[in-house]
Each structure stands twice: as C-alpha cells, then as structure tokens.
C-alpha cells in the first residue's frame, strides 16, 4: 500500500464555483462529497482530508542570513492554488487514479495526484 496526496486546485481570489451555487446546488454538492468520503472510509482508502483558506491567507517564511523573512501571500503568484486535499491509501497509481476520478466528479475541479515518499523499512 502507498499513500497519495490528491490536491484540489481552486482559483485564487475566492473564485470557487461554490459561492455562485444556489442552496439546492450546494446541498447536492455536499451530498456528493459526503458520499465519496463515506466510500473512502468504508474501503479503507481514507487517511485524511482538509480544506484550506484562500491563498490570500497564506504566509511564506524563508531562511535569510541566519534569520527568517516572511512574505505575505503564497509561494507562486498563480491563478490556481491548492484549496484542499485528500490523503488516501492505494495499491498503485491506477487505484489512486480511480479515486482521483471520483473526487473530480464530485467537486468538478482539477486535482493533482502525488505519491508520498515511502520511508525504507516503514
């Protein structure tokens, strides 16, 4: 078993399509997400999930001459930023991609699938 990060990318500036949803659409959207997470848990694929605030709320901290420098905003000025993520367990990439497909279907946004580094002997 390996772990994969399914990183959900959303548009910066609160442009998430959720905000333009009607209450009915919102309910249907939440229903899909809840059902998907229930399926992940039932099959043992679920490890963790989290939703992030907008990239405007990000702070970058980097080393500088033995001290630290902080900058307001995300690493890269980009239209799309990570807005949330799932961590799942899967046998291989094909299995992870099946979950990725289900997530995309539920939330209608692109996601990036990244394998976790496996510690030798872990």
């Amino acid at each position: 078993m390996s772990q994969y990060l399914l990183a959900v990318h959303t548009e910066a500036g609160g442009g998430s399509h959720e905000q333009s949803m009607t209450p009915e659409e919102m309910q249907s959207f939440m229903g899909k997400v809840v059902a998907l997470e229930a399926e992940m848990k039932a099959t043992g694929a679920f490890v963790f999930t989290g939703r992030l605030h907008d990239a405007d709320a990000a702070t970058v901290v980097r080393p500088s001459d033995g001290g630290l420098v902080m900058t307001d905003g995300p690493f890269v000025e980009s239209k799309e930023h990570i807005g949330g993520f799932y961590i799942i367990e899967a046998d291989d990439l094909d299995a992870a991609l099946v979950w990725a497909g289900k997530v995309v279907e539920a939330i209608d946004a692109p996601i990036e699938v990244r394998p976790f580094f496996e510690m030798p002997g872990a």
Partner: protein, 424 residues
C-alpha cells in the same frame, strides 16, 4: 589479405551479437522487471549479462537460445547483487528459494508463448501509461521494448544523448515513485489504454516517414505492432494498426525520387511492395469480417483501397469518401476532414475540393499538407499565383527536407503553368 578477412569475420560476429542483443533486449528487460519490480534494476542486470555475452559469445559461439541465456544470466546476476544489500535480502526472500549457484545458462525453458510474452505485454502498458507524457511514453517504448540504445532513441528525437538519458531517468523515476503498475489493464480500461499504446507505436512509425535519418523507426514501429498483434490477437484495432503500417510501408519505394516526395498520382505503382500489400489487405479483410471498426482499421481500409488501384484515376473514390465519412464519425479531426476534401475533389472536381478545403483551412493553418493540398487544387483551377503562395506557405511549414524539395518543385511548376489548368 588475411587481416581483412579476420576483420570481416569479427565484424560479422559483432554484428550478429548486436542483432541478438537488439532482439533479446525487450524480452529480457520485461522478464526481469516482472521478477524485480524495478526497471532500472532490470536494465542493469540485462546490461551485465550483455557484457558477459560480449566477452564469451565471440569465442564460444552464440548459444542456441540466446534470450534464455541472457535472461538466466541477468536473473542470476541480479540476485547475486541483491544478496549483497539489506534491501536485496528482503527481495530475494520474496522471490523464493533461488539457488545461489548459477544453473547452466539457457537451462530455463523460456518458450515464446509463455510468461516472457505476458511480461512484454505488461511492460508495454506501463511504458504507454497515460500518466506519462507522450514523449516519455515513446522514449520508454523504444528503449525498453524496442531495445534501441539511448543514443539511438536520442537521434530519433533529434536531441542529445545526455538529454535523452535524463528524460528516460525522469520517466523511470515517475513509474517507480508513483507506482505505475506492471499489469495488463482490466477489461473495462483496456480499450482506452490500448489506444494509448497504439498511438505511441503509430507515432514511432510516422517519425520515420520521409526522413532518411530516422527511417529505422518505421521497421521498429512495424516490429512492435506485429508483436502487439501476437500478444493481443483479439483486438481488431491492434490488427488495424499493423495493416495501416504495412500498407503505408508498401508504397515507400515509390514515395520518393531524388530526395523529394512523389505524390500518389505520380508514383510508379509497380514499385509498391506486393507482399506487404497482400498481408495488409488480408488483415483489413479479416477486420471487416469481425465488424468492430475503429479509427486504425478504417485508416487501414482507406490505404487498402488506394493499394488496390492501378492508377489514381482507377481509384474507387466513392468508396474512399464513404470510408472517410465513417472515420470522421469516430475521429472528427480536421486532418480527416482534409483527406475527405481531397477525395471529394477527385469525384466532383477541384472547385468542390477548394470549397471543402477553405471550410477547414483556419483549423489547419499551421499544417503544411493543408497548404500543399490547397496549392495542388488551385493549380488545377489555373489560379497559379494563389497556388504558388499556398506552396510557399507549405514549404515554410514543412517538417522534412523531402517535403521541402517536393514543394520547391511545385512552386517552380506553378510558375511555369501559364494560364492553362493542369487537369480538367
């Protein structure tokens, strides 16, 4: 001259050994990947076995089952190497009780129909996994299944050997890190995954078209397609791809003259390879009987119609238009529309062809064959200045020297036409 004779014999021997390596590489790597679960380890082991073979075969002769010899030797080498590392001890335990002393090389019975072929099929699906970018899929396929050297793969992409080596390392890193499986996809995913494999093989073949430097890629594409058909005899699209390649290849001897492309209508059809045409047409007939048409089978059927005709005028154009219509319904690309427009022009005349071409011209503005087709059509209509402009645009966009030479001839020809249309 005894020295020359010796050199010739040694050269021939070296060539034989090289040929065997090329043929055996794909099988050996596929088997070792299955055994070790890692492409890099598998390649290293096969490389070690080749080094040993280079040392022994010239004096002892090539063994009766060279593939078996290489695979057994590589396997033993890999196991010996693995025993020396902690991670290796774990792996060797997983591999089961493997004797530490090497069995006689070639003792393992590796029949062609057995697990070796299944291993190659698994590996081709790994190499052509859609999670890998297309250029990596092609490079991996040529290297791991085609047995081309890194330098040969680099030359077929027109990049340096260092750049190609890096590209291959990156692709193999992704396979290992993301755990792209070594597995023939499940029935439900097979059609889509097979399309990806077929596209890679067709791209390999096409890269060798009209470019003498890269001509070996055509035979490599055909060889891989043939192997795929043997591995997946029930997949009509795989057969369709092989037929398409054979029928295209049959015309290669007539396709060029003095380093320039020769149009279908001007080709000496007696120079077409009858053997390839017969094989390709037999496959197309078998596909038609199976009646599960797909893009590659339809393209093969189109080529089969061309190969049936003794001349351009004797070509069954209505049949071709019907096939292009069918192809467009499953593969609605502007290139298919372009070829359909050309076929329509042969029935209804150049004015109809031009209307059809102009309708799709915007979609294919950077495609040299679009402008070449417009040039030919305009020339037939006697509109020589426009024809010349179209050929010039085509020459500017043409990817190969052969295309450019052909187009230069057309530019010159359209200047000489005067006001007389070429054909009615």
């Amino acid at each position: 001259m005894p020295e020359d004779v010796t050199r010739t014999v040694t050269d021939r021997h070296a060539t034989d050994v090289e040929r065997v390596f090329r043929e055996v590489y794909g099988q050996a790597v596929a088997t070792l990947v299955h055994l070790l679960g890692d492409i890099t380890l598998a390649e290293d082991a096969v490389q070690e076995a080749f080094v040993l073979a280079t040392d022994r075969w010239p004096s002892n002769g090539i063994p009766p089952n060279p593939a078996g010899w290489i695979i057994t030797t590589a396997r033993n080498r890999a196991i010996d190497d693995l025993r020396r590392s902690a991670r290796g001890r774990e792996l060797t335990e997983q591999l089961g009780a493997v004797p530490s002393t090497s069995p006689a090389p070639g003792a393992v019975n590796l029949s062609e129909d057995g697990p070796v072929r299944d291993d190659q099929l698994r590996l081709i699906f790994t190499c052509c996994h859609p999670a890998l970018r297309m250029e990596h899929q092609v490079a991996l396929t040529l290297r791991l299944l085609g047995g081309l050297s890194v330098d040969e793969v680099a030359r077929s992409f027109l990049v340096s050997e260092t750049a190609m080596a890096k590209r291959l390392v990156r692709a193999k890193y992704k396979i290992a890190a993301a755990k792209i499986p070594y597995r023939v996809p499940a029935e439900a995913d097979l059609p889509e995954r097979l399309r990806s494999v077929l596209s890679v093989l067709y791209l390999i073949y096409n890269t060798g078209v009209d470019d003498p430097e890269r001509a070996p890629l055509r035979s490599e594409g055909i060889r891989l397609a043939r192997a795929l058909v043997e591995l997946l005899p029930d997949e009509p699209e795989a057969a369709g791809l092989l037929a398409l390649m054979l029928l295209s290849e049959s015309r290669v001897p007539a396709r060029t003259a003095e380093g320039a492309v020769v149009l279908l209508g001007d080709q000496d059809r007696t120079r077409w390879d009858r053997g390839m045409i017969e094989e390709g047409q037999a496959i197309v007939r078998a596909c038609i009987r199976r009646d599960l048409p797909g893009p590659f089978q339809l393209q093969a059927a189109i080529q089969a119609v061309h190969c049936d005709a003794d001349s351009l005028d004797a070509t069954d154009w209505p049949q071709l238009v019907a096939l292009y219509d069918h192809l467009f319904s499953v593969m609605p690309t502007p290139v298919v529309a372009l070829n359909r427009a050309i076929a329509v022009g042969e029935i209804e005349g150049p004015a109809a062809a031009l209307t059809a071409l102009d309708a799709i011209a915007a979609d294919l503005d950077t495609y040299h064959l679009m402008h070449a087709a417009r040039g030919t059509t305009l020339r037939r209509l006697g509109r020589r200045d426009e024809a010349r402009a179209a050929f010039e645009r085509a020459a500017h966009l043409a990817p190969t020297e052969m295309d450019r030479r052909f187009l230069a001839q057309q530019i010159e020809g359209s200047a000489e036409d005067g006001a007389t249309p070429l054909r009615g």
